[in-house]
Symmetry: C2
Subunit: 352 residues, 2 copies
């Protein structure tokens, strides 16, 4: 089959790789219908040294089950399914606690003999624990929306959930990428952005790209702050009566974004980070200790949220697939990377 | 009156200062019956440069109200009271939310014309918002226990509460100082340390001073780990089935203690820090992001917890005053500092 390989920074190619096969009784093989490129794919795309053993890229996909091992019970050939961005056994104590990303048998796509999501097909370990059946057909117009359940929508939702967003509260979302925009959707779903029980109910989106922040407004942001750094912090504080917001969703992954988060969070409030950290230490020292700032979040256990979020997509109340603004055929995946890396595209669908 | 002044590192003296007087209608003047020395007093004791304007030291005291301003309604002359380690108005939105340490009109003792707690008396701003009446006499044997409501017990409790300690859970407490031992009391109060609903219910105390860890066992610790660093982490993991504990109470304030906390916390778990940070950045980068580790805690809003904790002292179910192992008269306060700094005493009462 054809799949996407990253050889080194800037050098992404589609090549022939071995066809996936059921290897374990708990495996399934899925023919991929839609994949996409993630903001986190851009970090290796920008920085990976040359390797003679390029990994298969991609960790988000919707597809049709082609074959299942004898122990697979919850999906069968012909089912349309979505895969979260890590596979997981669904039975260990972490999975039972909803932390599928710490699964004792789980792991990421594209390494250790497991395929990536930017290809024609994938072997799915622990198919029962990993895959979720979609109650629509392969030709459904909702497929891009349902594809966001793989990662980006669940990641935004993880930010909002772990931050403890509640009805009527004000929230600041830092970053207008696809995760930030998904965090706006999530904050709105949890009742932020609407005054309630004395709360101001603002969703402040911090970002500089008008097309993206415009989409953020449609998703539920009540305010957009384009300034960054101290100026941006001052603007958010002015919007929120001087004190900042009790919840801040950090959707970038850079230290500057964390500093900004600490600046806009209200005393006693919570910063949830879901941007993959490009830093090794968190700038929360004595001043933030005195202000009782909490840092939470982390990599999203997407599998834990799919069942909960899917109905909102199926009934049309949210349209997270609007973060996809371009589609490329698999053979042109390199162009998709270029578009995202050059910020010409927000998020790119890859169609095998 | 006589009060404790810190002139520079290692140079603490008792000197005459102006007698406190009611200055604002919301003030009270309190004659101090018992004060004490805090671990956090040792940081300036170790490091403060020479100053011509030495500050009054001490922020924990029990005393008798001598005079009140005309707007003070909740305490009256003759009342025995405890003061939390910051004063607060009790009415602003932070105080109403239980975050008295962020009070819009509050502040620390010993600066800005407010007296310290290691002296004969203190002017108390916002007496209604700050002081809590004690239902015992000045000669009660419970006074040392009630004095811990000023800071150390509430600080340990803040760690346990913000970490979200629940019945049956396992908790690691890092640090066998007075705060760490108070955190053990607090974890036990919240139901840790006893198997419940499938939880192992361990309270693991990490510390190296046998007299202190012995007291920790009496307070409720089920296990003591004397090793530090990687060896200590391995020991805690071995005690807890390999995964560590879901709650970790960091009662030291050094970066090494945070690294240790990250090592012993279970994936998806929470580290609460209540040791005053002697660092500017927190070592929680990509690995801890992947493990969904939360960092919470901060300076304890002691005032918020006094009403809740006092009954446990009055009925004798907890004896937090056992952290005091020495008493010095006010004139010998310098010896009290030396004893604590040299680790000859755990925590020292100062009796004016």
């Amino acid at each position: 089959m054809r799949a996407t390989l990253l050889h080194q920074a800037g050098d992404v190619r589609v090549a022939d790789v071995a066809d996936p096969k059921v290897q374990q009784p708990t495996d399934a093989v899925v023919r991929i219908v839609l994949g996409c490129i993630c903001g986190s794919d851009l970090w290796p795309y920008k920085s990976q040294p040359f390797t003679e053993h390029p990994r298969q890229m991609g960790h988000e996909f919707v597809g049709v089950v082609e074959e299942t091992g004898p122990q697979v019970a919850t999906v069968k050939p012909g089912d349309l399914v979505v895969a979260p961005f890590t596979y997981s056994d669904g039975t260990c104590e972490y999975c039972r606690a909803g932390l599928h990303t710490s699964c004792e048998h789980g792991g990421p796509w594209g390494v250790n003999g497991v395929d990536g999501g930017q290809g024609q097909a994938a072997r799915v370990p622990y198919a029962d624990g990993t895959l979720v059946k979609l109650p629509v057909g392969e030709d459904s117009g909702l497929l891009p929306d349902l594809l966001t359940l793989s990662d980006v929508l669940c990641t935004g939702y993880h930010a909002a959930r772990t931050a403890g967003v509640r009805a009527g509260e004000s929230v600041t979302v830092i970053g207008d990428g696809a995760v930030g925009l998904s965090a706006v959707i999530a904050a709105k779903l949890l009742g932020a952005g609407v005054p309630h029980a004395g709360g101001q109910g603002r969703i402040v989106l911090m970002g500089r790209h008008t097309a993206r922040t415009d989409l953020g407004r449609e998703f539920g942001a009540t305010d957009v702050v384009t300034a960054r750094g101290e100026e941006g912090v001052a603007a958010v504080r002015e919007l929120t009566g001087g004190h900042g917001t009790p919840r801040v969703l950090e959707c970038v992954g850079l230290k500057d974004a964390l500093v900004q988060a600490a600046g806009v969070v209200r005393d006693g409030g919570t910063i949830s980070r879901v941007g993959a950290p490009q830093y090794s230490e968190v700038p929360l020292g004595f001043p933030e200790f005195l202000r009782n700032i909490t840092l939470t979040g982390g990599v999203a256990p997407a599998r834990a949220y799919i069942d909960e979020l899917m109905p909102h997509i199926l009934d049309g109340s949210i349209r997270p697939g609007r973060v996809f603004d371009r589609t490329v055929p698999l053979e042109d995946v390199a162009e998709g990377y270029r578009l995202m890396n050059d910020r010409e595209a927000l998020k790119v669908v890859v169609r095998p």
